[in-house]
């Protein structure tokens, strides 16, 4: 290690004074050329060797360091005439507007000055921003007469980007500088200038700092040609004009020519700072490409801040397509061997792992648990080859670091973009597997929002013990089962896990003991005592539950009957768990599904995350075994309804359409009564929408009444595995009203939607009511209306993703420094309190009961069960 470590305690922002610029400069630059014919840099040119070195091997003429170590040194250009800095043009204008050109005082009365100074003083004491006061002063200090010397004030305007105009006279930069010099130092603070670090006249440049060559390295093309950086090009322009201006002035050229050159110098300096300043034609390269100057280097998405400082590229990372693996734990990630051999973990060699490490080195970079590099105690990195193996093995001793391959059990970071919440990056344990995709457990799909239609994910390997330890305790998947978003599990069973668990545990499902043992073995559960008779599904599922678990809840399949029959529920929706035994109720989404799993939620909160992980791993495997025993499939045959049902639906829809006709007739006859706050037309629309909506729901109910719980599509919809009853209704009974922007379809030809209708027709069909079901098929008009409704959805998703991304970015930028302190307050990075109690109630939503501190009703119910069981 070389260099001195220093801790930054404070960063001060100010302006560079001309003296400062000269002081930090190592050389004055006068020649606009860079290299001579022999390719050597010209002294006092833009590539002066004192400005630093880029080529490795050479030594810097200023500091003596080698190329790469020398960070470069500034030079300077003495400008023949002062020039306004574009970045400060607005500030200069504001200052000139608010100060007297005669006496240099700010245009405030003495009393105002005293008052504002005191206000600023208190703000300073409280370490608060004085921006608001300064803003106010700038509006107040716009007087026609100076309160100090009674001088008339002429209006000063700014002609973008850098011209300051007084009345009709354009002030030269020298005059601007003179005026700024005149401004009274006592008034600086009133205009937001800290007199310790800045003087307003420094905003007009007399000396231009020349950045070191390390900032603007020239590149040598393959042809041997040298190509200069855009900044160098711009500096050449500045130097050239500066030189000409100086010569002309010395030769006593006419004022007009001098002014022209001065203007040109101003243009070059302006574009040197910002080549996209409004009102200035951008300086272009010979090819017509606009130059990338200082502001362009920093600004925007590809700028220094967003691209290089907030975001970086890293080593020890991997990316590939993801695919599912139900056999690994939620904590694990399957890593292809190919990746495991490429990304490495540094391991310090000790007496205790010496043999192990030697084995790795023996294996080399090609055989899996091998090693790619060895780092000697003197920090030399040696690649492990067949040839170097021997000598490395010989020299290997404690203190060496071996960069060994990734192995089972290593902790890695796993991430899927967009990283919208903290669960988008979680720590997984590595499981090295064959083939070339990352494998992940299906339960972690919801937090990553991943599917397997070609999604790719990234993996990062920790390089220090500290990071590994931290990640293992804070970022492991099992620590994130509960989402801080709503205080429930975000990791849980999905799709087939849910239907599987339902099929396993629903009333009447029985399994032969030998199959039960197969399921238990597959789910890594301890073997129970044999019963010597068939098991019920509920008994099998109970094996998963902790022995002292007591809970009651209504399952997803609950139909919300008017009067709850509780344990006698005919849908088996009233779940009762007594001392770890599932007494009644079927297991479905409410039990261990992502977003709503109550059992899972209880286990995490009461038994800890280890237990929860075990439960989830076993429960999903058990559910899959359950579904595999029976087999599960769906097709349009599931949405088949008998002729009788079709007739009933047809009748119902016809009735509804007739009802709509009646409403329209009533509307035309002015018999319709307007709802409060709505016009007659709006009332009609609402009523029609209501009638049609109801009719669709009713037709759905009719269709539903013909479906039983032996219908797979219905099982999926009701247990919450996938799809909804609405989807089934639309397939089987009636698609229903299509809407665009919340209303029926109205736009189109004049006074009608399509030429297939009469003018002024308001009927159901003419405004996009789709009478048919998907299964029956839509007629062309219905199809078109359906496409209209569908298009709106497409547009919405397309626009929303872009908008919400930007909104998220702004929110993150605004809130990134806030944190909860040990005293429960939320503070920003300056220690200023944002909330005196986090969330105003101090509740951590991840540890809460769906946002509330505790669900008292549930707790009472549980205790009741517990006491009853005893």
């Amino acid at each position: 290690m070389q260099g001195i470590l220093k801790k930054i305690s404070q960063i001060n922002f100010g302006l560079l004074s001309p003296e400062n610029i000269r002081k930090m400069s190592v050389t004055k630059i006068v020649t606009p050329d860079t290299y001579d014919e022999d390719g050597y840099p010209i002294e006092a040119g833009l590539m002066d060797p004192r400005l630093g070195v880029i080529d490795p091997g050479l030594r810097c003429r200023s500091c003596g360091s080698k190329g790469g170590d020398c960070q470069g040194h500034f030079g300077h250009i003495n400008l023949a005439r002062p020039v306004i800095h574009v970045g400060f043009a607005d500030t200069i204008h504001k200052i000139l507007r608010s100060t007297c050109s005669n006496c240099g005082r700010v245009l405030l009365t003495e009393s105002e000055i005293a008052e504002y100074k005191e206000k600023i003083g208190t703000k300073h004491q409280n370490e608060e921003s004085i921006n608001d006061i300064v803003k106010e002063i700038y509006t107040v200090a716009r007087r026609d007469k100076c309160p100090h010397c009674d001088e008339d004030k002429e209006e000063i305007k700014i002609d973008k980007p850098v011209s300051i105009v007084e009345g009709n006279y354009k002030l030269t930069s020298s005059e601007v500088r003179e005026r700024l010099e005149k401004v009274n130092e006592d008034d600086y603070i009133l205009m937001g200038i800290n007199p310790d670090v800045a003087k307003p006249e420094w905003m007009v440049l007399t000396v231009l700092p020349v950045p070191p060559v390390t900032v603007r390295p020239s590149i040598t093309l393959e042809t041997g040609e040298r190509s200069e950086d855009d900044l160098t090009h711009k500096l050449v322009d500045i130097l050239r004009i500066n030189q000409r201006l100086k010569e002309n002035m010395e030769a006593g050229a006419p004022q007009l020519i001098v002014e022209d050159l001065w203007e040109l110098l101003q243009y070059h300096v302006t574009t040197y700072f910002d080549n996209e300043a409004s009102g200035v034609p951008p300086a272009r390269h010979r090819s017509g490409r606009p130059l990338k100057t200082l502001a362009q280097r920093l600004k925007g998405k590809e700028g220094r801040f967003r691209s290089n400082l907030s975001g970086k590229r890293v080593n020890f990372s991997a990316r590939t397509v993801i695919s599912p693996d139900p056999n690994i734990s939620i904590n694990e990630v399957g890593v292809p061997e190919m990746i495991a051999k490429e990304v490495t973990v540094p391991v310090y060699v000790t007496d205790w792992n010496m043999e192990d490490m030697k084995e790795h080195i023996e294996n080399g970079p090609e055989i899996h648990p091998g090693a790619n590099y060895v780092i000697r105690p003197d920090e030399r990195k040696i690649r492990v080859y067949d040839e170097t193996k021997e000598s490395i093995l010989e020299k290997l001793e404690p203190g060496y670091v071996v960069e060994r391959h990734l192995m089972d059990g290593d902790i890695v970071l796993f991430n899927r973009q967009p990283s919208l919440h903290r669960m988008s990056m979680m720590a997984h344990e590595v499981k090295v597997l064959p083939y070339k995709t990352f494998r992940l457990n299906l339960c972690v799909c919801p937090p990553y929002n991943a599917d397997f239609d070609g999604d790719e994910m990234n993996m990062h390997v920790f390089q220090t013990e500290e990071s590994r330890a931290e990640a293992k305790s804070l970022m492991r998947v099992q620590e994130h089962i509960l989402s801080p978003r709503f205080g429930g599990p975000i990791i849980g069973g999905i799709h087939d896990h849910i239907s599987g668990a339902y099929l396993l545990t629903r009333e009447g499902s029985e399994f032969e003991e030998d199959y039960v043992y197969q399921m238990i073995k597959k789910s890594n559960l301890p073997f129970p005592e044999p019963k010597n008779k068939p098991w019920t599904g509920k008994e099998v599922f109970s094996l998963l539950l902790p022995d002292d678990l007591n809970m009651v809840y209504r399952a997803e399949i609950c139909r919300k009957c008017d009067e709850c029959l509780r344990q006698e529920c005919k849908n088996d929706a009233y779940v009762v768990i007594e001392d770890g035994q599932l007494i009644s109720g079927a297991i479905d989404e409410k039990a261990f599904g992502a977003f709503s799993g109550k059992i899972l939620d209880s286990i995490v909160k009461d038994y800890g995350t280890d237990k929860a992980r075990e439960f989830l791993d076993s429960a999903t495997k058990l559910a899959i075994s359950g579904i595999m025993k029976r087999g599960f499939t769906t097709s349009t045959a599931d949405e088949e309804i008998p002729q009788e049902a079709k007739e009933r639906i047809e009748e119902l829809l016809n009735m509804a359409e007739k009802r709509v006709e009646q409403l329209i007739e009533a509307y035309h006859n002015d018999e319709l009564e307007a709802l409060p706050g709505r016009s007659l037309r709006e009332t009609l629309e609402m009523k029609i929408m209501q009638v049609l909506g109801e009719s669709r729901d009713k037709s759905g109910e009719i269709a539903e009444s013909y479906f039983g719980m032996d219908n797979h599509a219905v099982i999926m919809a009701l247990t919450g595995a996938r799809g909804s009853m609405l989807n089934l209704t639309q397939i089987a009974a009636c698609v229903g009203q299509q809407s665009v922007r919340g209303g029926r379809i109205e736009r189109g030809y004049s006074k009608r939607t399509l030429p297939h209708f009469k003018e002024g027709e308001l009927g159901a069909k003419a405004s996009g009511f789709v009478h048919s079901s998907y299964k029956e098929g839509l007629d062309p008009l219905e199809f078109f209306f359906h496409a209209m409704g569908g298009r709106e959805g497409l547009v919405d998703t397309a626009i929303r993703t872009a908008q919400s991304g930007y909104m998220q970015r702004r929110l993150v930028n605004a809130l990134q420094d806030l944190s909860v302190q040990t005293d429960g307050t939320v503070r920003d990075n300056r220690g200023i309190i944002i909330q005196s109690k986090y969330g105003e109630d101090g509740v951590d939503p991840a540890k809460s009961d769906y946002g509330k501190v505790a669900d008292i009703d549930r707790m009472i119910e549980e205790m009741r069960i517990k006491s009853k069981a005893k």
Partner: protein, 496 residues
């Protein structure tokens, strides 16, 4: 009924190709529009009229190629694709030099190459049957309708635009704001002039009805412009706009606010705008020039069309005020009746016009040069055919069209046969994809039968990039003069 419909569909495809819109449009371009452009182009005049050049008929030869050894041979599309050549036809134009009023004999001069659309009139594949196509190395199923430039297949996508030469009324803000504007994009041989008439409450004082058109900075009061167009008396002015009282009252307000009362003052007012600080004579001349040439050029650019323009503007103002008074609904911009599609022929027309202008400019330069060198000017030597060829070729090869539009021609999608067909039927809207434009992206009922309701990309281009319906046809448009003559002959309307 359902079975019979398929026979209709079959019958449709017996008659029409899937990419008929491209081929017909290109044929029309080749047959008429090139000649029209050449005919109305400004003639080349040198040495204050001492020399001038007269142009005659254009002829286009079917594509052939001059090999390096000087031999000529017909070139077929397959060959062009394989040898990275451009499938283009040579164009010859009759030109003659007029020297001091004395006309020389017409010469047929080679002026450049025109990329040929496959299966168009001037393509070798035109009218071939399947066997013949196969013999020429073509896929008999290939629809044609694209170009081959430097061996790559380029399709010109159809551009959707708001209907030109048509008044579009739109409301600004809510009904209660009482603000509206009427827009006409007037197009005369490639020159687009956008006229914007707005009704808005003036900020301090001033008139309500203001109009803006090209070459006049800012907005001018409508009443002043109408006066300048010859509606001198207040009575004429008001009556020509409307016979309804409330509308007339509004106008009277405007008339009283503007202090200009006669034709001359009005023209002077405009002159002060367009040529500030010039002599009065020049200002008047310039103002009249601007009115004739840049105001509603589709009506005409001659001074005697001013009355017609005044009537048109008066009509426009009445419509606008009716919107303000809620007596008329503003136009639905997304209604397909208010849209026009510019197909390959129209876009090639834009391209050729600019390319031909640069050719004539180059010719002038070449002729001037030979004159200053004391040589006798010769038409054949003055034409550098590369100017025209390269101009057109470059635009099609890169997709950078005249007027700064990019992506007009695209590499033909050959991922699948259907991909190709879909690409040739693509229609793109000029609306920017970064703004929401919810309404423009919606499937509009008037697109029924014209635009495919299903095919549109997901993502930022959703609803802005469309595809023609399979059975949609695009008409080429016809000469407005002919139509006018027919209508006049029928004595339905009285000429104004």
């Amino acid at each position: 009924m359902v079975q019979n419909a398929w026979e209709l569909v079959d019958a449709f495809f017996d008659e029409y190709n899937l990419v008929d819109h491209h081929i017909k449009s290109y044929n029309d371009f080749v047959d008429h529009r090139i000649q029209d452009i050449i005919d109305i182009a400004e003639p080349i005049v040198l040495e204050q009229g001492e020399y001038s050049i007269k142009t005659g008929n254009l002829s286009i030869k079917n594509p052939f190629i001059k090999e390096a050894d000087g031999s000529k041979s017909d070139i077929y599309p397959t060959q062009a694709r394989l040898r990275n050549l451009t499938y283009s036809a040579h164009m010859y134009l009759e030109m003659s030099l007029i020297k001091g009023g004395e006309e020389q004999e017409m010469e047929n001069v080679y002026i450049g190459e025109m990329p040929v659309m496959l299966k168009s009139k001037i393509c070798h594949l035109n009218g071939l049957n399947e066997a013949e196509l196969e013999a020429d190395g073509e896929d008999p199923q290939d629809p044609g309708g694209y170009f081959i430039v430097n061996g790559s297949e380029r399709a010109i996508v159809t551009m959707e635009e708001i209907a030109p030469n048509k008044i579009i009324l739109e409301r600004i803000g809510e009904k209660e704001d009482r603000r509206a504007r009427a827009i006409v994009t007037s197009i005369k041989s490639g020159f687009r002039a956008r006229i914007n008439l707005e009704y808005r409450k003036p900020r301090k004082k001033g008139v309500f009805l203001r109009i803006s058109f090209p070459y006049v900075p800012g907005e001018i009061p409508l009443v002043v412009l109408l006066r300048a167009l010859g509606l001198e008396t207040d009575k004429d002015l008001v009556n020509s706009i409307s016979e309804e009282n409330d509308i007339q009252f509004l106008l009277i307000d405007d008339i009283q606010t503007s202090e200009i009362t006669n034709n001359y003052d009005a023209i002077k007012y405009i002159g002060n705008r367009v040529a500030k600080g010039m002599t009065e004579e020049y200002r008047i001349k310039r103002a009249e020039d601007v009115i004739d040439r840049y105001l509603l050029p589709h009506i005409g650019v001659e001074p005697d069309k001013r009355t017609e323009k005044a009537t048109y503007l008066a009509e426009m103002a009445e419509m606008l005020l009716q919107v303000i008074f809620d007596k008329r609904e503003p136009h639905d911009k997304d209604h397909y009746a208010n849209k026009r599609l510019r197909v390959s022929g129209d876009l090639m027309e834009d391209l050729f016009r600019v390319a031909f202008t640069s050719l004539t400019r180059d010719m002038t330069y070449q002729l001037e040069r030979s004159l200053t060198r004391g040589k006798e000017p010769s038409v054949k030597q003055a034409v550098r055919s590369d100017v025209l060829t390269e101009n057109i070729k470059h635009a099609i090869a890169t997709g950078n069209w005249v007027g700064g539009r990019a992506g007009v021609s695209q590499l033909l999608d050959r991922t699948s046969y259907m991909g190709t067909l879909s690409h040739l039927k693509r229609v793109v809207s000029p609306l920017s994809r970064s703004q929401p434009h919810f309404e423009a992206r919606d499937l509009h009922p008037t697109q029924f039968g014209k635009i495919c309701p299903n095919e549109t990309p997901e993502g930022p281009n959703c609803g802005l990039v469309k595809n023609l319906a399979i059975l949609a046809k695009i008409s080429e448009g016809s000469d407005s003069k002919e139509l006018e003559d027919v209508i006049k002959k029928m004595k339905i309307v009285n000429p104004i």
